[in-house]
Amino acid sequence: MADKRPSSSNEFKLVKAKKRKSTTDTQMDVADSKRPHFPAVKPESTAVNKSLRKVPIPPNRYAPLKESWTKIYGPLVKHLKLRVKYNITARQVEIQTSPETADIGALQKAADFVKAFALGFSIEDALALIRLDELFLESFDVKDVKTLKGDHMSRAVGRVAGSGGKVKFTIENVTKTRIVLADTKVHILGSYTNIRTARTAICNLILGSPASKVYGNMRSIASRTAERF
């Protein structure tokens, strides 16, 4: 512990604390007022950083995208105040913030919305993502649950879907989610707890439980979570 004294003198020197560089010119006067006084924030300062998102579209969704393009970019541009562009060559939807964008999370929401559409959800269901904060997307594969080969796999998928999609719709109705079955991939859209419930139900179906059993369990769980106040 060597003493690092710049001067030979033994005087104590008051070390001035270095102030941080601040953009604001005004200085706070702590001693004067009880309440801290914050000046109004300029709109430029709140502007979100310019950012861009790109959402790839799978080939099977090209045509639906073309059909419902207005419904896609409409809410994004009007409500979220974003700039949307479809890159044909890259087959990507590009979303960009604009100076009017007020919400920080708007870009993320828009990206999720387009992604949901790309996965296979309908426009109306995907719109819920924009309007509600707490909705999420979850995707998993049947392989993740259980390694199945050949017929077993198709049977498992069949169990998840049910004849005519009955089981899938039942799960959707009970848990207030939206499910997309794409071959072996399962995508679920909904709130966190509902996604979890739906996921357990689907996993049980994949693992081999009959639908009635799954219904029973699902119902008991859903009744507990359904009551809102």
């Binding site: 309908s122 109306e124 269901d125 719109l127 819920a128 309007r131 509600l132 909705l135 049910g162 999609g165 009955k166 089981v167 719709f169 039942t170 959707e172 109705n173 009970v174 207030k176 989610t177 939206r178 859209l189 909904g190 009635s212 059993k213 219904y215 029973g216 119902r219 859903a222 009744s223 359904a226 009551e227 809102r228 106040f229």
Partner: protein, 574 residues
């Protein structure tokens, strides 16, 4: 009119009279004959009696008049209705005339003739002859005698019904006297009953009032005739002592079993005998009943035992006593009619009194719990809309439903009205039954509610315990469906698992201290590890065989075990 003419007429009349059938219908010939005859007789009577009184007609007018009118003229003769005129001679002559004459009642003239056969037989013999000759020309002489004879001996003439004690003629006479008395009213007061009976006394002397055997001799007859005359004379002179008559009448009414001494005094010696006879006829009244108060009958004597009264006399009494039982309903026509009318009305109104089956009220509180309906159809609402709806419901849940302004007004008006009415009735009314208040309570644990209210005030405690804890109905194992069975099995497995875990925990805890527990724990762990697919440990159960075995046997056994284990594993993999 000369009698010759009359006889001629009678003769012609007799011809017609032979055939009684002629009298059934009024034929003109007969009528003319009869009228003529009546007129002749009338003239004779008028001439003999010297006037018929106030309404006297010099002659009978028969031309063009009907029978009734002629008869009325005849009736106007004075004394026509005197009973004395209806002499016993009449009855006797009736009997005598019975044989020849069959139907004499047809003509009024015939009646008149018979009635005009007066007891003044001296003067009427001719007329009697004429009338009698109408019936019997041959027997005129006999008839002459017969009226007088029969008149006198009428009482004693035996008839079919007469016997020792009874004479029908006597009875008839008696009855006729009674009738005359009744007709004359008080006029017959002077009927010296006893005078007549005096004649009967003569009979008594012979042997009784009804002794018809002893026919009186002519002397007796004459005496009787004289008596009768006297009686008639008495009749004529009669002014009427009503009191005496009444007293004599009362004599026969023994109401109190008394015979008043006055009456006794009034009665003459002759009366005594008459009374004796009457006593024979009437019920004998004990003459010892001089006292007013007799020995009281048993009905008046308070408690009368069976010895006090005669046999079966109580049955004749209508006794009154309290009935312990309800009187049976008298099934009358009225009763059945009423009952049937009620039945008919009920059937028409269909208002039967049939019993309604009582069902036990099993209102499951769980029934009110919100049930999640499994809808296996694609939902019509998108996710967006579902959340929107939920949000709106939640947002609007806080503010209560605003009632219709009209409803509020109506409710306030009704309240004021009812309060006024209650005040009118002085608040003496039956308060209405408490209506159950319906309140929606959500079945959530209190923790989730995040209520600012203290727990004591919150609604969460209003739930009944069975609403919080769902208790299932007891269902037998056989009644359970497949899913239910599986569900219960799963639950059981979970429970067992929990128990096992708890046991293990306990064991682990105990193993720290006791050696036995340690050993047990180690054994458990070994068993678990051997069950795993990747383990190579095999547990050889202690079969209890003798331990001292040759090493060769031991190793061969070991080898075999291993091989079987391997094969088993192989099968597993497959």
């Amino acid at each position: 009119m000369t009698s010759d003419d009359a006889i001629f007429d009678i003769q012609c009349w007799s011809k017609t009279f032979d055939d009684p059938v002629a009298f059934f219908t009024p034929t003109t010939d007969v009528v003319i004959c009869m009228n003529k005859l009546s007129a002749d007789l009338y003239e004779d009577l008028v001439s003999t009696f010297g006037g018929c009184g106030d309404n006297d007609l010099p002659e009978l007018y028969v031309d063009g008049l009907e029978q009734e009118q002629i008869y009325e003229q005849i009736k106007m003769i004075k004394g026509f209705h005197d009973s004395s005129m209806k002499a016993p001679a009449l009855t006797g002559e009736k009997l005598a005339a019975e044989a020849p004459s069959s139907d004499e009642s047809e003509d009024s003239g015939a009646d008149e003739e018979e009635e005009t056969e007066e007891e003044e037989s001296e003067e009427e013999d001719d007329s009697a002859e004429e009338s009698n000759d109408s019936g019997n020309v041959d027997n005129s002489d006999v008839k002459k005698k017969k009226p007088s004879a029969t008149a006198a001996g009428n009482r004693w003439e035996k008839s079919e019904v007469d016997d020792e004690f009874f004479n029908i003629r006597q009875m008839e006479k008696f009855l006729d006297d009674e009738d005359a008395k009744a007709n004359q009213g008080g006029g017959g007061g002077d009927i010296n009953y006893f005078d007549e009976v005096q004649s009967d006394d003569d009979d008594d002397e012979d042997g009784g009032l009804f002794d018809g055997d002893e026919s009186g001799s002519d002397d007796d007859l004459k005496a009787e005739l004289e008596n009768d005359d006297g009686g008639d004379g008495d009749y004529d002179d009669d002014g009427g002592d009503d009191d005496e008559k009444d007293a004599k009448d009362l004599k026969h009414d023994d109401y109190f079993g008394e015979e008043s001494e006055e009456e006794e005094a009034a009665a003459s010696d002759d009366d005594e005998e008459e009374m004796e006879e009457e006593e024979v006829e009437e019920d004998e009244q004990p003459e010892e009943d001089v006292e007013v108060v007799n020995d009281k009958p048993w009905q008046m004597r308070g408690e009368a035992t069976s010895e006090a009264r005669d046999v079966n006399t109580l049955l004749e009494e209508a006794a009154q006593f309290d009935h312990a039982t309800r009187p049976q309903p008298q099934i009358t026509d009225d009763f059945t009619f009423n009952l049937e009318s009620i039945i008919k009305r009920r059937i028409q109104d269909k208002a039967y009194d049939s019993v309604v089956r009582k069902m036990k009220d099993t209102r499951d509180p769980l029934a009110f719990k919100k049930k999640i309906v499994l809808d296996s159809e694609k939902s019509k609402l998108s996710l967006n809309e579902i959340y929107e709806k939920e949000y709106l419901k939640q947002a609007n849940k806080d503010k209560e439903e605003e009632e219709d302004a009209n409803h509020v007004e109506i409710r306030s008006m009704m309240r004021s009205l009812f309060s006024q009415m209650d005040a009118m009735s002085d608040f003496s009314f039956k308060p209405s039954a408490p209506t159950p208040e319906i309140k929606v309570v959500s079945n959530l644990p209190a923790v989730n509610m995040e209520d600012v209210q203290p727990v004591t005030h919150s609604n969460s405690q209003m739930l009944a315990p069975e609403e919080v804890l769902e208790k299932k109905d007891l269902v037998a194992k056989e009644e359970k469906t497949k899913e239910e069975r599986k569900r219960d099995h799963r639950k059981k497995k979970i429970r067992q698992k929990v128990h096992a875990q708890q046991r293990e925990k306990k064991l682990v805890k105990q193993a720290e201290t006791s050696d036995k527990a340690k050993g047990q724990l180690a054994m458990q762990q070994l068993e678990k590890s051997s069950k795993l697919p990747s383990s190579s440990t095999t547990i050889i159960k202690d079969t209890g065989e003798k331990q001292s075995r040759s090493s060769k046997a031991f190793f061969t056994q070991l080898q075999e075990n291993q091989q079987t284990a391997k094969e088993g594993k192989k099968r597993k993999l497959m």
